[in-house]
């Protein structure tokens, strides 16, 4: 893996308030990174500094082997367009301004618009576009020049479920071709397409790593045992040396994830003739991890 972007000590201060506080991270080529955190955590400010729109108070953003501004595509949370241009005119303009040659720009713009599903609206004025169409147009202007790095601010938050599904699929299709960094506060979306997670809280990077790493760090391994009756479940809890919580026929058992503990659990299940229906390892959802990270801070 080769490093594409190196961010060191990135800080933004507005008057007294530190909105982004000395964050460091690295983006590898052809990976997707989710920047997650509650509203006001500094996600948009971080992205703005990466695009160059906002000058950092301290710290640096380095793109390996190239000028940053020439190699990014940016989709703001609420993209605004010149309403008197058509979709094709706007995308073509975006392409040319980002350095696509005049000859190829129109063709590329048309291809990109077809890719995002606006093939039938090439010549419609943007003034007549719906929210979903604007989001697609926003994506098309961000990718038309084939940037090395795609920065997306809450790309699906404002869309309805159908639109969200479609845009997520679009973005997944882009994963192979480019590096993506996107912010979101909707964790299901992050879970769906991410190689690296960056947790932002109050401007600080409080946790980072691959989804697996973060899971391992915060996962308290948990096995859920399903018994056939409530009495069995309660009896098991009374006998067990593990930390258990009962919920009807279900008992969730917190154990160390090592062989002796595992064996102990299985032995305790065979020590008495339970009618066990199911034993499953439970993985913490990103939501739960998120809550834990947020609580720890």
């Amino acid at each position: 893996m080769t490093t594409l972007l190196q961010v060191t000590g990135l800080t933004k201060r507005f008057a007294e308030k530190t909105v982004v506080d000395a964050i460091d991270f690295v983006l590898e080529e052809h990976t997707s990174t989710a920047l997650i955190g509650p509203n006001g955590a500094g996600k948009t400010t971080t992205l703005s500094m990466l695009t160059g729109l906002l000058r950092p108070s301290f710290g640096s953003v380095n793109m390996v082997g190239g000028d940053l501004r020439a190699n990014i595509g940016f989709l703001p949370q609420y993209p605004q367009f010149q309403p008197w241009l058509s979709a094709l005119e706007f995308t073509e303009m975006a392409a040319k301004l980002s350095g696509v040659s005049a000859k190829k720009a129109k063709q590329e713009a048309q291809k990109t618009l077809e890719f995002v599903g606006l093939g039938n609206d090439l010549h419609k004025k943007i003034a007549t576009f719906s929210g979903g169409m604007k989001q697609r147009l926003g994506i098309s202007q961000a990718i038309v020049h084939k940037p090395k790095l795609l920065l997306l601010d809450e790309p699906v938050s404002a869309l309805d479920p159908v639109g969200r599904r479609e845009v997520l699929d679009l973005l997944k299709g882009l994963q192979q071709q480019t590096t993506i960094l996107y912010s979101t506060h909707i964790l299901n979306d992050a879970e769906e397409m991410t190689d690296q997670l960056l947790f932002l809280s109050d401007g600080k990077l409080v946790e980072q790593g691959t989804l697996r790493e973060v899971r391992q760090r915060y996962d308290e391994p948990n096995y859920v045992v399903e018994f056939s009756t409530v009495e069995e479940a309660q009896y098991f809890v009374s006998q067990s040396t593990f930390k258990c919580t009962v919920n009807g026929c279900y008992v969730s058992v917190a154990i160390q994830e090592d062989k002796p503990s595992m064996q102990q659990l299985l032995e305790s299940l065979t020590a008495y003739p339970y009618l066990v229906r199911n034993v499953a390892r439970q993985t913490a959802s990103l939501e739960e991890i998120f809550m834990k990270v947020a609580k720890r801070v």
Binding site: P83, K125, A127
Partner: protein, 67 residues
């Protein structure tokens, strides 16, 4: 009749009529294409047609709504 027509100082009137016609035509074409106006469209049609010179200009300044 012909004499009356000949008495009209065309050199003075014609440019004014020309400007008025251009303004009205362009304003009406623009109005027919535009997505939304400030205030009802039919009102602007009347203003453009019946207020000479200033009607179309008023439409361009305050009637057009972008975005």
């Amino acid at each position: 009749m012909m004499e009356e027509l000949a008495n009209i100082p065309w050199a003075i009137i014609a440019p004014l009529i020309g400007v008025q016609i251009i303004l009205v035509i362009v304003a009406l074409i623009d109005l027919s294409k535009i997505h939304a106006t400030n205030g009802p469209k039919i009102l602007w049609v009347l203003i453009i047609l019946f207020i000479n010179l200033l009607g179309p200009i008023a439409y361009f300044i305050v009637g057009r709504k972008q975005s």
